[in-house]
Amino acid sequence: MDNLIKVGMADLQSSRHPCIITTLGLGSCVGIALYDPYKKVAGLAHVMLPSSQQARNNTNIAKFADTAIVKLVEDMISLGATRSQLVAKLAGGAQMFSFNDTSEMLRIGARNVSASKEALNLLGIPIISEDTGGNYGRTIEIHSETGKLMVKTIGHGLKEI
């Protein structure tokens, strides 16, 4: 049995092979899975908000897309990963409620996704697959053996990205 590591809301974890890193019930939050396929180091962050720059309280770096990704990359490098070999997969960023307006709160999912992409671009980490948007929750798990990311939903199937 692989070592199962849970990531909470506003949390990030990384580990060497063998491990499965999972986060449950992503809604408007975004799960960012990073993987080094050569060193088999996997990492996962569960971010709630796009940017630490706009927050009044930004001490929890795992909460924001911009700071969480930087920290996750550092952690993975200290576990032996090579920065230039890292690849990313994204999931989450749903809009759970569908009010007929475009208030900031309801578009937070989409904003989290674009902020995550921006942060990954800045670091030069390619995004090789994503399952984002929609109006449903997702549970995801990254497997350190192959870097596959499993996405489970209620009523929208199970897939591998």
């Binding site: 408007s28 709630m48 927050a55 909460k63 749903a94 759970m96 409620f97 569908s98 929750g137 997702r138």
Partner: protein, 206 residues
């Protein structure tokens, strides 16, 4: 400087908890009228939790739950959310529709509509308690409903709380009708610049 949950002192927290109690009490009375049955309510528990624990409050992040969200406007702006376990929601609908209580099935359009109305009435009575205590004008929007994993639904209020701090304030209420228990959670999420309005109206600005 706007106030977040983390900045509140004990007195302010107690006041917010008490509002939760009164609001939930009002909601229980409304529910009893709606169902035309006697509805008992345990003393609601106001809790403050860190994000990592939040998704576990209803019994696990992956458990299917029904979330009913209303936007709040007027002197106080923000959101109010009522969350029920899927099983509890199904029991409430069955009570309302006079079906056997333990009948479990997918919600029909009619059931969803009934649940929205339950959310509407519960949130409305909660807010009217808050409004009469504070003399603030507080108006709820029409409700919206989502059925999904607890973690995903709870991320909506959690993100709002996340803008100002690292904890979430919520009120857990347990309604019971006869031997049947229905556990539901209320999240009142004022926009971060209206926490001060709320506390000031209650006379507890620190």
């Amino acid at each position: 400087m706007a106030t977040g949950i983390d900045d509140l002192n004990n007195l302010q927290l107690d006041v917010l908890k008490e509002i939760g109690n009164i609001g939930a009490g009002n909601a229980a009375t409304a529910l009893a009228k709606l169902l035309n049955r006697k509805v008992d309510m345990d003393v609601p528990r106001a809790k403050i939790l860190g994000f990592t624990e939040v998704s576990e409050v209803l019994g696990g992040a992956e458990l299917p739950v029904v979330g009913i969200l209303l936007k709040v406007s007027g002197d106080l702006t923000g959101n109010i959310m009522f969350i029920l376990q899927h099983k509890a929601a199904s029991m409430l609908v069955n009570m309302l529709m006079c079906r056997p209580l333990d009948e479990l099935h997918d919600f029909t359009e009619m059931d969803i509509s009934a649940l929205k109305e339950i959310g509407n009435i519960l949130a409305g009575s909660y807010l009217s308690a808050l409004s009469s205590l504070t003399n603030l004008t507080i108006m709820p929007s029409v409700p919206d409903l989502a059925i999904d994993m607890a973690g995903a639904i709870l991320s909506v209020p959690a993100i709002e709380f996340g803008k100002v701090g690292d904890t979430v304030l919520y009120i857990e209420t347990e309604f019971s009708e006869g031997f049947e228990k229905v556990v539901g959670d209320f999240f009142l999420v004022p926009d971060y610049d209206t926490y001060d309005v709320l506390l000031k109206a209650l006379g507890v600005v620190g």
